[in-house]
Amino acid sequence: MNAQEYAFMVVAVIGSLAAVAVVTARNVVHAALYLVVALACVGITFLLVGAEFVGWTQILIYVGAIVILFLFGLMLTKAPIGRDTLDHQPQSRIVGGVVALVMFLGLAGLLLRVWPVGSTAASDAALGSTAAIGESLFRDYVLPFEVVSFLLLAALVGAIVLARKDEGSES
């Protein structure tokens, strides 16, 4: 154990608790705020393994943009904030809990069998630098990059068309 790993353990515990709180919170707005904590913990983990650019992108895009989008969505749909009327179903909770628990135990057991805790991951600080990412992105992955930009344009147009109020039907 070194300093980085201690820091990661703290971040991982906080992030895990926040992730569980996201899906179990009764108040939907609280869930969105717990999501901020969980996503920020993931971003800090990226920074700790040396993925500098991805880490800051995570914090900018997720914490800065996506959670705000969720909060806007909650406000626009007038979700019953503070109550739990929509998803109070013990049966689906039991099923979901069992599936999630089996999933976690299976995944963790499998992963720990294939990569025992003794095996190490070296985090190379130079690996995730913006220069390295940019070079790889614009040399090896130019076409996917352009496709993603087109996808974002299509999503932008699609979201506007879907969420816009239809003037024709109002009159």
């Binding site: 899906v23 869930a31 999501l35 993931v42 990226f46 998803d87 025992p116 879907l162």
Partner: protein, 100 residues
């Protein structure tokens, strides 16, 4: 130096929490949030393996996943808003018009 399995177990926990959210919650916005958690678990795995294998490609893939997730949330929330406008409810169990 963070040992790989620790990160993988953290990612597995995030993924399982996301699965629970998708299965148990009925609020459509909560389901979207749980999907975000699962996508983040995948990103965590990609970045962890990129660091372990000294290959930057995993981080590029994580960036693509982040971009696609942003598009997905935008479209998803637009659909949820449209749903709320038409049905006055965002309970995913009540959206069964296409169910046979």
């Amino acid at each position: 130096m963070i040992r790989l399995p620790l990160i993988l177990v953290f990612a597995a926990l995030l993924f399982s929490a996301g699965i629970y959210g998708v299965l148990a919650r009925r609020n459509a916005v909560m389901v979207l949030m749980a999907i975000e958690l699962m996508l983040n678990a995948v990103n965590l795995n990609l970045v962890a393996f990129a660091a372990a294998l000294h290959d930057v490609s995993g981080q590029i893939f994580a960036l693509f996943v982040i971009a696609v997730a942003a598009a997905e949330v935008g479209i998803g929330l637009a659909i949820v808003i449209l749903l709320f406008r038409n049905r006055a409810s965002i309970n995913v169990d009540e959206v069964d018009l296409l169910k046979w």
